[in-house]
Amino acid sequence: MTTPARTISVAFVRRALAALLSEAAWKLPTDYVAALRRARQQEAAALGREIIEILLTNADRARAERLPSCQDTGMAIIFVEVGQQVHLVGGDLNAAIEEAVRQAYRPLRKSVVADPILRENTGDNTPPIVHYAIVPGHHVRLRVMLKGFGAELMSRLAMFPPAVGVDGVKQFVVETVERAGPNACPPVIVGVGLGGSFDTVGLLAKKALLRRLGTPNPAPHLAALERELLDEINALGIGPQGFGGTVTALGVHVEAAPTHIAALPVAVNLNCSAPRRAEVIL
């Protein structure tokens, strides 16, 4: 059976993506702001509550003034899902995506260097990091993260043998948050990838950060792991900005994938007090 194809111009994708990135810079996700409001009630430390209040005011101001909530608007990380019935016309999709980033970052900080050793700023925040997926359907789905690197720098990956088990996984995750401490601008959001291979486990951890806060993993054993990890992390006492407190993380999201009989890969990707993400379906 053949279904008629849908034609989408890359210029349309470019405009939608540029608008999405611009908005993400000043509009912190509603689920994050709601979680931060709850944290303000829950936090036992007076200074911690004061810091959360400052972060909430900053988020409100950013939204009202349409200015970035944080100076580090990161690297643009873009997930592109293309329905297999979609025919993209009018140019090169990759070039359109780069152009969208260039446009959206014109008023934002340029934080990308062309080479990790030579370290010359590209001047327009390109290139972005793009992940493509072909899926059934007639749509294009764009999901973006403006990922600050304070938290990215404290993220970790380990290729464990299976014998390490769930206890070893937990220890690694909690230890990652502990070592990050104030550097990752807590309260943090913790994305955990489990399984897959060396190259995909980090991506799982990043995808875990795309999930809305308050949405547990549908698998009961993974949802339980998320709850246990959140408890252990909040028992660390790191608190808002590391000055001590009961709210160190707002959520832990675990994403798992099939893996090899020989391995238990784990990746921990941290998100910070500027967890910018946005999504649109075309």
């Binding site: 944080c70 580090d72 934002l108 304070g150």
Partner: protein, 185 residues
């Protein structure tokens, strides 16, 4: 909580009055520098060249601000992770820098050097960049312009809020604060 109103440049007495956990409202000139600027600045100092900015008594703010929106002196300008500047910190302390503003852990070497050279490390709230920019009334690039967001800027700040993390007595506000709330091991 103790709140200190301070003006830069800082004196030894100013710094001696600060304890880990105290709140500071800082006014006066502050110099921005992050990774690339530190690398250049310290390389220049090591070659015996003069510093492009005054160091004795001054405060360095680890920040790479966002571009200034129309009608404002600077864009959002919150702290970046200080630990990345640890390898460059002692040479600046040797030349009399009295304060650093950033966020996150310092190395044991830097903490010891802060005690030895009588200087403080302050943290501003990471992520609250737009609110912090309210306290920056003037900004101009004074060195390494080609580094873009990493250029050294001279800022004039007014009541810039920060918390003392490491004082000259070896106090550490992160350690003390976290110990009080730790429920683990």
């Amino acid at each position: 909580m103790n709140a200190h109103t301070l003006h830069t440049p800082l004196t030894d007495d100013d710094v001696a009055a600060l304890r880990a956990g105290d709140m500071v409202l800082l006014s006066g000139v502050v110099y921005t520098a992050r990774d690339a600027a530190h690398r250049r600045l310290v390389a220049a100092l090591n070659r015996g060249e003069p510093s492009p900015i005054p160091l004795a008594g001054h405060v360095v703010y680890y920040v790479g601000p966002a571009p200034a929106p129309p009608g404002r002196p600077i864009g959002p300008a919150g702290p970046t992770t200080s630990g990345r500047m640890d390898p460059y910190t002692v040479p600046l302390l040797e030349r009399g820098v009295k304060g650093f503003i950033g966020k996150g852990h310092r190395s044991p070497e830097v903490k010891a050097a802060l005690v030895r050279y009588r200087a403080v490390y302050l943290a501003a709230v990471g992520g609250a960049a737009l609110l912090l920019a309210d306290h920056i009334v003037e900004a101009r690039v004074v060195a390494y312009e080609e580094l873009g967001p990493e250029a050294i800027r001279e800022l004039i700040v007014r009541d810039f809020p920060a918390i003392v993390v490491n004082d000259i007595y070896g106090g550490d506000a992160y350690e003390a604060g976290q110990r009080a709330f730790r429920r683990r091991r």
